[in-house]
Structure formats: structure tokens, C-alpha cells
Symmetry: C2
Subunit: 150 residues, 2 copies
DNA sequence: CTCCAATCGTCGGTACACGGAGCATTTGGT
DNA sequence: ACCAAATGCTCCGTGTACCGACGATTGGAG
């Protein structure tokens, strides 16, 4: 028995393709959106624009980040002056997080760029295919929803 | 002007969905495949099964990892005794990498588990949709191929 | 044959991403 | 009112992932 190629063709593994696709997205993000604000940071700002004064854990649930990662992202956004944190007066355990005016401005500034980035990312697909990709990914994501965010 | 929700619906951003999908994949990987060998590590072993004695950089190109990350993955696989590295006698800069018997055995052992993991990941889609997802992701990945791996 | 540019690997720095342990605070059951 | 369980955040350890800089080595131009 000889080896003509790898044991598995990774190009047929959705997991591998997802990793590659996300790498491409991150690369495009740096070029087209910002090399300062990352996509998880953008997601956090965006979530706060709809629900101000979220506590850290809930914010993490909204954008699907665990506690540890959320803490780091919050620290960086805070250091950049895009958000402000405060202890919840009703619950001393919680940290409530709010956008600063600078955070709002940054978010508004980046939104068109994210659309441009998306166009480049999926530009090789026609409109129908783009919609289908969105639908399939949404199905995969929601069917694998995490039971519990530690 | 009031805010009824976030400025953007991230569920319509392919980039965000890719991140979520990859998170789901990684979670499944831990449960269904191995919490010791990660998916990039598996990819490396798999690539080596098809092309023994690759140098570190080329191995990275095969599975789409940059030199720094590849170095770390190689170090971990080496520490686990799954690969063996040696200086290339023809080119002192290069490190050639080979699977050990233990590496081959581990790869063979994990392959069925990766398929099981994939079934769970995309199980909510029918066969036709799974094939379509694979096709769309492949198109996105190849249309955003990196020009140069630093 | 001798430099010089290109190349390979390393290292340090930054940023996600997650689990587990630990601490403070809150809450629910009695 | 009290204490135990639950909860929110932090800290630590591990593992991708990438960039820029650096040293060693190679190979080609002159």
C-alpha cells in the first residue's frame, strides 16, 4: 500500500475550510476595516449600541465570547477610550459597560468599511450564493448553540 | 432617534458567522475527536502522511499556517513524540519533519472521529446543503488565497 | 571567489479563545 | 437572620494566529 497523498483531503472537511475562511476574513479586516479595532471588538461595540449598560458576562453572551476573552476585549476597548466600565450599584459583582462618544463615533465610522470587507470576502459568489452561504452558516451555528457559557 | 437594537445585525455578517461556526467546530473537536490533539495539529500530521520530510515552512503552506504558528505546532507535536525533526543536510537552514510511528497511529486513530465530528457539525443540513456549503466555502477560500506567506 | 540579497527558523509582542481555580457578592432556603 | 449555593469577575495556563526583527545559511551576481 502506497501513499499517493495525504490520508485525508482536508478540502472536504468543513472545519478546515472554516478555519481557512476565517483567516481570510481576518486578513481582509486588517486591510479594509481597521488594524486597530478587531472584529470581536467591533462586535462588542455594536452590541453595546443596541443595549447600553450591559454587564460583562451578558455582553460576552451577545457576541459569543467566554468570560476570560470578554474581560480582555473589554480591557483593550477601555484602554482605547471606546467604552467605560462601572460597578453596578445594584449588584456589586457586576461591571456595567457603556459606549463613550468616541466609541459611538468609531462604530459609525467602521460600519461602511465592514460592508466593504464583506463584499471582498464573498465577492466571488453571486447574490443568491451569498444568501445561501449566510443561511447555511446560520443553520450550522444555531444547531450547535452552546448549552452553557462557563 | 431611538435605538431599537444594535446598529448592525451581525447575523447577516458572514465574518461573524464564520467566527461562531469555528467556535462550534472547536468545541465539537474537543468532545468528539481529542482534547489533546487540536485540529491544526491534526492537519499537520495529515499533510505529513502524504508528503514525508517536508520542511517547516512548506508544511505551514500546506495547511495554511504562518512560520511562527507552524513553529509552535511543530514544537508541541514534537514534544508529544508524534513527529521528528532533523536539520536538512543539503540546506542547513531547513528543518525536515517526519511522522513517527506513533504519529501515524494517532492520525489513523483520529480520522474516524473527525468524520463523526463533521457529521455533528453539519448534521442539521441535508446532504445537498452540506455539499453546497463545502462548495461555497471552497470558493470563498480560494478567491481570497494569500499572495504570500510571510 | 566574494559579497549580497533571499530564505529558513526563532523570538518577542499582540490578540483572540477557552477551561479551571479563586475571590467577592448576592440570593435563596430554612 | 443565617448559611450554603449560585453568580460575576479575575488570574493562570494552554493553544492558535500573525507581524516585525534578527541571526544563520545559502546561492547568485559580478
Amino acid at each position: 500500500m502506497t501513499f499517493d497523498g495525504p490520508a485525508e483531503d482536508l478540502m472536504r472537511h468543513p472545519g478546515h475550510l472554516l478555519r481557512r475562511a476565517l483567516q481570510a476574513m481576518n486578513l481582509l479586516w486588517d486591510h479594509e476595516v481597521s488594524h486597530v479595532i478587531t472584529s470581536p471588538q467591533f462586535a462588542a461595540l455594536n452590541a453595546l449600541s443596541g443595549e447600553p449598560a450591559l454587564d460583562q458576562r451578558t455582553l460576552g453572551e451577545r457576541i459569543s465570547l467566554d468570560r476570560s476573552t470578554m474581560a480582555e476585549v473589554v480591557a483593550r476597548l477601555s484602554a482605547r477610550g471606546l467604552i467605560k466600565t462601572a460597578r453596578d450599584s445594584n449588584d456589586g459583582r457586576r461591571k456595567t459597560i457603556r459606549l463613550t462618544p468616541k466609541g459611538v463615533a468609531t462604530l459609525q465610522h467602521l460600519i461602511p468599511r465592514t460592508h466593504q470587507m464583506t463584499r471582498r470576502l464573498v465577492g466571488a459568489l453571486d447574490a443568491k450564493e451569498q444568501a445561501e452561504l449566510l443561511r447555511l452558516l446560520t443553520t450550522v451555528v444555531s444547531s450547535n448553540e452552546r448549552r452553557k457559557t462557563r
